[in-house]
Each structure stands twice: as structure tokens, then as C-alpha cells.
Symmetry: C2
Subunit: 329 residues, 2 copies
């Protein structure tokens, strides 16, 4: 896009355990320029802040946008964030980040005001503002990855709870005394529909000797099955892959139904890697929700795939910054 000098801009930053990506964004979610660096997650706050500042500088310099028109930076962080304090309370993928000021050194390094948020919350605000949630009043989003992240937007504002840890919907218990979760508890949604349980589910079925594309795709070692392999095999009609998505969709659907009963939103967005399976996963989710959520809650809510893909983090950061610094929303 060509920059327009009469409208405000922000910088959206997507901070991951491996890479940092940044782009300048306008109020319509158009991207201008790009910066991309290694996040140096194991080298401490100073090193990572310097990397982020480099990505931001590269994004600004390649954007064609006058620096004076940029209101600030919005950044999603994989962890628990206290946005008003600029503090990262907990970020398991970054060494030495727990309870640490990140906003202020980043402001000093870039000369721009900074607002941070949890990456799943930020992605949800991105979908609400620029993607699948546009036009909704209350939106819930699940991001299906290694774990299950979630975000909640009510009347235009992210709800992150009184200490910044909401909405941890991946750790709702849907099967009391069920399988052990990575968090140490039992029967969490994530323990039934996170990356590992999905792959184990497929491997268990394949172990029973039925023919499946997954055997060859995994190099005849079922430990190497990935969600992407399952999605692809299901799209080709592989029975075990389809069953795996059906059963996974059942558990995700119970989590969606619970969130729907509790919050009665008008839009539910499903994102993350395995959501790439599309209707092969969304249909079992929808069928489960139809029988497990209240009729009036089901009737009021559409269940849709995320739209922003790889740009969800950047656009979510941008939406967060526009809300904080631009008077949007």
C-alpha cells in the first residue's frame, strides 16, 4: 500500500520464541513495510528488546510512512502481561522475563509509546478489528497450537481479567479426573485437544493396524505424526485422520459450548495450525456445540475460521495500539 499522510499509523509487533516481525499498519489494517529479526529469546530482556527495536526500525524505514505520524507500538507476547504497567509477568519461552519491565526499555529504544498484551488476546482483538470478528459485539477466539490459547473481546475491549490471565479457556476442565495436562492438572481442554493429544489420538488408531496414509507420511514412525499430516490425510479421505479430527472436534466443541453458555457471544473464531483442516474440523465442532450449548446461545453465534493467518500477531498488535493510542474502539 501507499501511505496516506492524513491518517494515523501504528506499528504492530509479533514476538515469538524464534522470530520478531513488525509492520506499520493503518486504521484499516493495511500493512506497510516489514522488519524481521531473530528474537534471541534465551539471551535476556536487553538482547530481545534490541532485536525488537531493530525490527521496528526496519518496518518504519521500509514503510514509506513519515515517522511523526506513527502513534505507537502494539505487541503480542507469548505469556502473561500487565499492559498498564508494561510488565511481562510470565513468559515461559523467554529466559529471565518473569516479572520484568519490557515496555519501558522498548519505549526508550524506539522512541515510541508501547502497549503489550498476551499474544492470544492480541490476536483476538486483531480478528475482532480486522478479520473474522468484524461486526460482532462479543467475540471469543481459540488458537489451536501446541497449547490452546484464547481471547475474549466484549463491546470492543479485550477482557483479560483483574490480573491479566483471562481467558485461559484451554485450561477449563471438561473431563474431571481425565488425562494429565501439561499444566499439572487433569482433564483440561488442552489435555484433550492440544497438539500432542491430537497426534497421540491418530497414532493410537494407526497402531491398531488399520491402513492409513499417516504411516507413510510419518516415515513409518508414528511418533512423528503432526497435525498438518493429519489435516492433509483427512482432506484426502484417510479414515483414521478423519476420525481423529472428529474426536478432536468433539472435545474442542465441548470447550466452545462451555464458553458459549458462559459468555453468550455472537462470534466464535477458531484459529491456529490445526484449524487449517477447515470444515473437516469445524463441522464436528459445530455439531458438538449444537447439542451441548443452550439453543439461544447457539442461535446467536456464528463459528468461523480465523482470517488473518500469519498476520494475526502484527494486526492484533496494531489493533491494540490503535485502541490505546489512537482513540479507536
Amino acid at each position: 500500500m501507499q501511505a496516506n499522510e492524513s491518517i494515523p499509523y501504528v506499528v504492530g509487533v509479533d514476538l515469538g520464541g524464534t522470530n520478531v516481525r513488525a509492520s506499520v499498519t493503518d486504521i484499516s489494517g493495511n500493512l506497510y513495510g516489514e522488519g524481521r529479526t531473530d528474537s534471541r529469546a534465551m539471551d535476556g530482556v536487553d538482547a530481545t528488546v534490541a532485536q525488537i527495536a531493530t525490527a521496528v526500525a526496519d518496518a518504519v524505514s521500509t514503510s514509506g510512512v513519515d515517522r511523526s505520524r506513527i502513534l505507537g507500538i502494539g505487541m503480542g507476547v507469548p505469556g502473561t502481561v500487565l499492559p498498564d504497567e508494561g510488565i511481562v509477568a510470565w513468559a515461559p519461552n523467554f529466559r529471565g522475563w518473569d516479572g520484568v519491565q519490557v515496555g519501558e526499555p522498548l519505549r526508550v529504544a524506539t522512541g515510541l509509546p508501547v502497549i503489550m498484551g498476551n499474544d492470544a488476546n492480541v490476536a483476538a482483538l486483531g480478528e475482532y478489528t480486522f478479520g473474522a470478528g468484524v461486526g460482532s459485539r462479543c467475540m471469543v477466539m481459540f488458537t489451536l497450537g501446541t497449547g490452546i490459547g484464547s481471547g475474549l473481546v466484549i463491546d470492543g475491549k479485550s477482557w483479560i481479567g483483574v490480573s491479566g490471565c483471562a481467558p485461559e479457556m484451554g485450561h477449563q476442565i471438561i473431563l474431571a479426573d481425565g488425562p494429565r495436562c501439561g499444566c499439572g492438572r487433569s482433564g483440561c481442554l488442552e489435555a484433550l485437544a492440544g497438539r500432542d493429544p491430537i497426534c497421540f489420538r491418530a497414532a493410537r488408531k494407526a497402531h491398531l493396524g488399520r491402513s492409513t496414509l499417516l504411516l507413510e507420511r510419518s516415515g513409518h514412525d508414528l511418533r512423528y505424526i503432526t497435525p498438518a499430516m493429519i489435516s492433509e490425510a483427512a482432506a484426502e479421505g484417510d479414515e483414521i485422520a478423519v476420525e481423529t479430527l472428529n474426536e478432536t472436534g468433539y472435545y474442542i466443541g465441548l470447550g466452545v459450548a462451555n464458553a458459549m453458555n458462559i459468555l453468550n457471544p455472537d462470534c466464535f473464531v477458531i484459529g491456529g495450525g490445526i484449524a487449517g483442516a477447515g470444515d473437516l474440523l469445524l463441522e464436528p465442532i459445530r455439531r458438538t456445540v449444537e447439542v451441548n450449548a443452550l439453543y439461544s446461545a447457539v442461535k446467536a453465534c456464528r463459528i468461523v475460521r480465523a482470517q488473518l493467518g500469519d498476520d494475526a500477531g502484527i494486526l492484533g498488535g496494531a489493533a491494540t495500539a490503535l485502541q490505546r493510542f489512537g482513540g479507536q474502539g
Copy 2:
């Protein structure tokens, strides 16, 4: 209390399947006068509206408050309510009420503006405004009765969802493929910790032949065990009653933990009949929450008993009316 002519008043109405109660209330939650009638739930909307109007008129005439100082009526209804439309969408205890205008005929019959809400939501706003939730930012309430009602207040406002059915936390699924619920689904919190499952739990233990006060208290017919009998026997140290409360507290605790992970509130209020057991129920709830909710969510939230008792409905109605007609909150 003696009425003060310089402050505004409202009428709080508690509509139940058997009785209607009304009282005039000031902004501090003091009650003035009372009206009480049969609700004539099976005789149609007109009959019940006339009964409510009688209760309101009695409350006003016995209150000593000048009628001109009364801003309006707030009423909790056991069902799904569309507050802005004055419509009751669903009220299983009242014949002919589904999808019916109730606010307008009540306004005509009383000459006062009317705001309605679901009884559990309204009770939660009452506790938030006048009771156990005072001073909190985000409050969740469970009302443990025949079913499990719930309410959610965020930044002073009840959140009832986009179609008025939130937050149905009693129908969150905590045990996939678990026991059948009255709603037709399986494994809902209510199917594990509603009135009947609590009584069945005690009866099953007693059937196994261990000595228990419940045998005599139920007239040697275990079908007649009530939650009140269980609470009383537990207070006297009855082993089976204590075990029943412990197991019930475990399931309620899972529901509380889920709500806490999803919403990260700073106050959780437990009300309703069986909550009368006090710490005998609250302690197993707290212990379950401590191990099943995120540490930072647990740390941020107190779990307390409801304070308003039998006046929760009236004071909740009053809080709702003060918010709508009095510019409170």
C-alpha cells in the same frame, strides 16, 4: 428505616414461582415497607402482573416513602429476560410467559418504569452492590439450588450476553460423557452438584449401610433426604454428610476453577440453600480451586458466601433499578 426525602428510592421485586415479594429500597440497600402476594404462576401473565402490582402498591404504602421519589421497579424473574425489550423469553415456572411482554403491562399497572433481569443475574448485581461483592471489580456468583444459577458482573455491569442467556455456568460440561443433566446434556456441573445429585450422593452412601443421622432425619426413607438435612448432619459431624459435602465441593470447585480461569475475577460469591453449610462446603470448594485454577487467578480472587440471604432478590432488583433509573454504576 425512616425514609429520607432527599435521596431517590426504587422498588425491588423478587418474583418466584410461588410468591412475589417487593420492598422500597434506597441507594444504600435499606428496605422500607413490604408487599407479599401469591405469584399465581399458572394463571397467565395478566394474573401475575396484577399480583406483582399489588405487592408493589403494598410495599409503597407501608414504606413511608413519598411515591414521587420512587424512580422505578427492578425485578428478578426465574427465566431468560430481554431487559431492553421488557420481554421474558423463557420462564419454565410460569404458564404462557415465553416470548411475552411483561415490562409494559407492569408499567401500566403500577405507573412506574420497569427493568427486569434473570433472577440469578439480578441477585449477583445485588451482592455486588450491597453484599459480599462490594469493592470488587469483576464478580462471579453461583446460586446453588435445585439447579445452579450464576451471575457475572464486570466493571459494575451485569454481563448477560448478546441474547440474554449468559452466564449459564451450571451448564458448563465438567465431565464429558458424564451423568445426564435435566437440560438433556451430559456431565453439566448441575448434573453433578445440583440439588438431586447432592441428595442421591448422600443416599447412595447411606444405602451402603454405614451409620448416619440422615437415616432418621429422612424418616428412614432416603428418597426424602434434603440438602438442609445434609448440611445439618454435617455440622453435627455425620461422616456421610461430610463426605457428601466434600464430593459436592469438589465438583462445584471445578466449575468455580473453570470460571476463574476464563474470567479471572477478584470475587467469587457462593449462595443458595446448600451454601448454608458454610465452610463445610466452602473449604472443599477452595481446596479444589487452589489446585485446579491458575495460580495468578487464585491469588487474585476471594471466595466468599453470599450475604443478602432471603433479600437477595429484592436487593438485586433494587440494584438493577438504581443502575437503570438512578444513574448508579
